[in-house]
Amino acid sequence: MATTAAHAAPVASEENTGLWSWLSTVDHKRIGILYLYTALFFLVVGGLEATVMRTQLMKPNLTVVTAEQFNQLFTMHGTTMVFLVIMPLSAAFFNFLIPLQIGARDVAFPRLNAFSYWVYLFGGLFITLPILGWIAPNGGWFGYAPLTTRAYAPGLNIDFWVLGLQILGISSLAAAFNFITTIINMRAPGMTLMRMPMFTWMSFVVQFLVILAFPVITIALVFLQFDRFFGTQFYEIAAGADPLLWQHLFWVFGHPEVYILILPAFGLVSEVLPNFSKKPLFGYNVMVYSGIMIGFLGFGVWAHHMFAVGMGAVADTLFSLTTMLIAIPTGVKIFNWIFTMWGGQIRFASPMKFAIGLIAMFTIGGISGVMHSSPPSDLQQTDTYFVVAHFHYVLFGGAIMGIFSGIYFYFPKMTGRLMDEGLGTLHFWLNFIGLNLTFFPMHFSGMLGMPRRIYTYDAGQGWELFNMMSTMGTYLLVVSTLVFFYNFFKSRVSGQVAGNDPWEAPTLEWSIPSPPPDYNFAQIPVVTSRYPLWDLKHPEKTAGVDHSSASIEEVTGAHAVPMHEETERRTAKELGLPMPFPTIKPLFTALFMVLMIGGMVLKTLTPLSVFVATLITLAALMVGSLYAWLTSPLE
């Protein structure tokens, strides 16, 4: 990286700073950064919840928290990590990267994008804050009804959960419509589907999972909300309701949700691995098809979460088979990553360490997943710590490792500076050891019969050593996270200046300055292959590998301006590019919507007239803000 010295340190222009500019931004990159910071904040919250739980479980019969508090902690840890950390961290990358990777100036609906973020922030606070008063949701992140109906969960706890998830669902859905449109409709000339970077491809699949899976949980939650607030009988067993209705609806959403969490991380490491092996991704087409296959099959495996309820041999067999089947496209991806590295000139920079970490850790989680696909085996493991070990290898070892890989890789593009390699290495090893020390012993405590979700246990069951190890591992993870945050904030200010392309990477986002100007591309590029920058600067890396390349004449039918590497910064105004106006209206629409939906907790607290009057007022304010937004010009 001798060239980076030539680049000037990144400076923010005058009009792009200040609180107001962040509240009213509609720039996909800034919204991505807002998502990143917010999700990292919630990562700390969810991590602290886990740390308290692990402290409680360090030894038998501790009394750090009560049973009720423990219920709230595991519920909020799961809910936070799934909906407020991994999904939004992925969203941070969707926002920041998709337009850059496909050669666009923004997303299709910039203001809707801002709206998604604000709904996420307010909804996240709505569902998180109750834990400060120990009135947080306490029914597990899966919230099984009828346990969560008013009869069995009378307090406000589940009300916060039901309404909070409805709010967060709206954020995810709005973002998904936006990204689907962006990817279908805003690709630069020549950027065919089969030339898209793998991260964009996996994100594309994820958006379809979101729009097809979230409506199902929306309805499940509506039923629960109506049962709790308006006396309907959807989950009322005495009225003839099916005790499995919730479980089916929840997992029809819940299993695609697992792929919503992991596929973006798969996409990120698929960017990192070729780059640090200096070789094109092995089997690009098969990677795309296996991603789509995972998306399809993801809708056909939900009942493997329910083997223990006794669905009968036919259903168990069917879901067992589909579950084994879905291991195939996933395994294909693992092998393709390994073959990508095979024979490459591997450079073990921090992003690469985390990417290889994902391959190793996800494989362990994947293998225990295949064990669960067999109902007889699963019956032994259901509701034990073995399952906890499994999904933490998949989601922490897989999704979080992949996201860390992505943060180290794209930090220079976001901030203009590189993260510190030494601290990155320290973070990786502490994280790697901490993760294995925390979760590997859970396989054993689970096999020895330790159930999930218990707040304490008696001595003499053989669980003490494994629990002590898990707790120590958790503390190590706390330390590793502190190292990460130190590195993050230190490098933001004083990291090595990165320049446009610190990694000699192949895709479009590296052709523009770091951080990119608000218009991204001064000139929309013409894309002639999967690896346009390598074709231009390092043709030896793609020599002899089919990467869907064509000449510019083939793409446009004429000679066009070649790929343009821009280093000087000019404003959008100087270039004559129309940019969307900043606006606060999506924020207000989001705020009033969250208050309106969240305001339904008042149902059990206030007289009906106050409740109705509050909701109508907030609905009017929301509709008013929405009309103000829709009637003001975009640019």
Binding site: A108, M186, P189, L212, P215, F226, Q233, F234, T556, V561
Partner: protein, 240 residues
């Protein structure tokens, strides 16, 4: 192929990969998502069909005193007259409201056509009919009024069900029926508000061919809500 050159001072013709407007793609994705929403609601209704432990029932007579159901009132011999509940679903009335909603889709098609044709000169000897076909206001009003009429039918239906002893709390049928049709009604309501918004624009500055996309997207939504009702009418009302 630098797109900055393609910018006209008055009209922002953004380059799009497919040549379609972003909103058109987004509305189709939205409709796909809505399909899953209604599928979940309809599936739950069907799963719970016949599972209610007390009446009233959608297609059967019900004796409250003995909690038995039968296809005809006569089959409930011995049941006191004031304890007999008739089948709740009123198929003739709902057929009428279904017809109204279908006609609203026709009006919507004509509204879009009127907006698209607004700038074309009337043919020689054009009569009242030709002039009516050019009136976007007429057809937008027609669509909105027919949609509101459908909502009126639904309000009548809901009220009469409550009078006949079926509320959202009564049994599984009541819960799943009111939630499903209520969700559909809410979608129609949103559609009517959308149409009134288009009308407001039409009165303010007139809708012309350049607004065809706006109307087209509202129309796609409106037709979708209509198609969902066809599924509901068939599965819930017609199939016993």
């Amino acid at each position: 192929m630098a797109t900055d050159a393609a910018h006209d001072a008055h009209e922002h013709h953004h380059y799009t990969t497919t040549g379609l407007d972003h909103k058109k793609i987004a509305i189709w994705a939205f409709i796909g998502s809505e399909c899953m929403l209604f599928m979940s609601l309809i599936s739950t209704y069907l799963i719970y069909k016949g599972k209610s432990v007390v009446g009233p029932w959608p297609h059967e007579f019900w004796c409250k005193a003995t909690n038995t159901a039968a296809a005809t009132a006569e089959a409930l011999a011995g049941c006191p007259a004031d304890q007999i509940y008739k089948p709740i679903l009123n198929i003739p009335v709902t057929s009428a409201s279904t017809f109204v909603l279908l006609m609203s889709s026709l009006a919507m098609v004509l509204a879009l056509a009127a907006v698209e044709m607004k700038d074309q000169p009337l043919p020689a000897g054009a009569g009242l009919g030709d002039r009516m076909l050019r009136s976007s206001k007429l057809w937008l009003w027609m669509t909105a009024i027919l949609g509101a009429t459908f909502l009126g039918f639904q309000a009548y239906e809901f009220t009469s069900f409550v009078h006949e002893g079926l509320t959202i709390k009564t049994n599984l049928f009541g819960s799943s029926f009111f939630t499903l049709t209520g969700f559909h009604g809410a979608h129609v309501t949103a559609g009517v508000i959308w149409l009134l918004t288009l009308l407001a624009i039409d009165y303010k500055r007139g809708l012309g061919p350049k607004d065809a996309l706006k109307v087209d997207i509202a129309a796609l939504y409106w037709h979708f809500v209509d198609v969902v009702w066809i599924a509901i009418f068939t599965l819930i009302y017609l199939i016993q």
